[in-house]
């Protein structure tokens, strides 16, 4: 499933429109950036509570399909700017991480 299609089917706000044609190959859930660097796989959608600019750099280096920032928080302007320049989709959602992961899981299993 493409990122754009996945987002359309989720209760989420798109803060930065990156490459919406990227295939979502799976999902990675972690707030530890070194863990994501070490273990995430290309194309995975990253779900995290972190919202600082390093998140974009990690997503970009790993070739992730997008980042969902949970907890309904304000995204730092620096993060938005960086995501725009690196074409990384940033999505926010008011749901809990559990709810978001569940929704993504169900969509990807369809």
């Amino acid at each position: 499933m493409k990122v754009g299609e996945l987002i359309k089917n989720m209760k989420a706000d798109v803060k930065v429109v990156g490459d919406l044609e990227k295939d979502v190959t799976g999902c990675y859930v972690s707030d530890l950036l070194s863990d994501v660097l070490a273990n995430s796989k290309e194309g995975e959608l990253w779900i995290t509570h972190q919202s600082h600019p390093n998140v974009v750099a990690v997503a970009s280096v790993r070739g992730l399909s997008g980042v969902v920032i949970t907890g309904n928080r304000e995204i730092e302007p620096e993060t938005i700017k960086k995501a725009e320049s690196e074409q990384v989709s940033i999505i926010t959602s008011g749901g809990t991480t559990f709810e978001i992961v569940g929704a993504v899981y169900n969509l990807l299993k369809q």
Binding site: L37, E42, H52, A57, V58, S60, V61, R62
Partner: protein
């Protein structure tokens, strides 16, 4: 894969200035793409470089990262001005960290930096002296054959 002409890059890193972290790794990734290195090898080099960048930003006052792509490998040299690593074996242990709270709050400082670097390179040399600084010499091969190092 052999590159005839060396491709090089140099970056200054300043302690605590995390906003631009990953810039060196990103440029390295693009440079490796431009010479046609295999995706898996590019990713390994970028991860190793990123962790090395973060180590300087988290622990040191200042430092630098440079890379040279030549003869089928990339050599990444990361050097900083202190504090140095008192016990390398301990620092290499997954989960051990001396990172400050601000770094942990950002999701760094999980004690995975040096182990991640080691796992994602083919040769790692650490020169360190407490009170003076640390230099990492990281080599990542750009051949796809054998998949010798896993990753």
């Amino acid at each position: 894969m052999t590159t005839e002409k060396a491709l090089e890059g140099y970056f200054m890193l300043k302690g605590g200035v995390f906003q631009d972290a990953g810039a060196a790794s990103k440029e390295l990734k693009d440079a490796l793409s431009s010479v046609g290195a295999p995706t898996q090898n590019i990713r390994r080099a970028a991860v190793a470089a990123f962790e090395a960048e973060m180590n300087v930003i988290i622990h040191a006052v200042a430092g630098s990262l440079s890379y040279v792509i030549k003869d089928g490998e990339v050599r990444i040299t990361v050097t900083d001005m202190g504090p140095g690593i008192p016990d390398i074996d301990l620092a290499m242990k997954e989960g051990y960290t001396t990172a400050p709270k601000w770094a942990k709050d950002m999701g760094w400082g999980g004690g995975l930096g040096l182990p991640n670097i080691k796992r994602n390179c083919d040769n790692l040399k650490i020169d360190t002296k407490v009170g003076e600084g640390t230099t990492l010499d990281i080599v990542v091969k750009l051949h796809d054959d054998d998949e010798a190092s896993g990753g």
